[in-house]
Assembly symmetry: C2
Homo-oligomer: 135 residues x 2
């Protein structure tokens, strides 16, 4: 398991599942829309590339942070997420998530983004989050 | 981590990531379209319910097995997966995946299914897999 924090990045605070499969990182400087993780041996599938479940977990966790930032850290839940797996990710790759908020309503947050390795898109994501207990 | 194999179920063979977050189970008898896992403390999110990433990982792994059965175990990859998170899953729940193959073409497999706890739907899934190196 890699414990190398990239220069200029910090570890994202996570709980049980995020900690079990992470760590995840976020640049210390920047607009907050970028996240990253090192793909290591734990993350493989039967073809020896990174498991789709790990990519979806990273996207859910990273873009969930982006959503939290957009709603003053109120409690929210992912209600829908769609993933296009554009290219395989290799063990050893540093995977970045780059997302944008599409719209925030009273109770819903629409977002979309990409997972990238270097400058290559490896997955396209869109999702909807819901603010819990919205008044 | 729970190691309780439900009566009448067997452990699904997994590799790196599936093993790290599993085990996953399949009934010994049946039509092969049902899978299961025990949600344990590793699988939680910041709200203390099961992380969406774990549910998507389970769906990808379980329904990937269903797809493999439909294509004589040829190599394939998930190219798209969409998830509706219908209800929260609690730590301690036994989560089942029940899927069906919608269509198999020369190189694509369309499937859909539900994740259920007891008789309650907790997630709806649809996805597309691609046969690799299809001639």
């Amino acid at each position: 398991m890699s414990v190398k924090v990239p220069d200029g990045w910090e570890v994202l605070k996570t709980q049980a599942f995020g900690t079990h499969v992470g760590p995840f990182y976020r640049p210390i400087e920047g607009d907050g829309s970028t996240f990253g993780f090192w793909a290591d041996e734990r993350h493989g599938n039967k073809r020896g590339v990174v498991h789709g479940g790990m990519l979806m977990t990273f996207a859910d966790q990273a873009f969930g942070e982006l959503v939290l930032d957009a709603i003053d850290r109120r409690q929210c839940a992912t209600i829908q997420m769609n993933t296009h797996f554009i290219a395989a990710v290799q063990i050893g790759d540093f995977v970045e998530a780059r997302g944008e908020i599409v719209r925030v309503t009273r109770s819903l947050i629409f977002m979309r983004g990409f997972l990238v390795v270097g400058e290559r898109n490896v997955a396209a994501i869109d999702g909807i989050w819901k603010v819990l207990h919205a008044t």
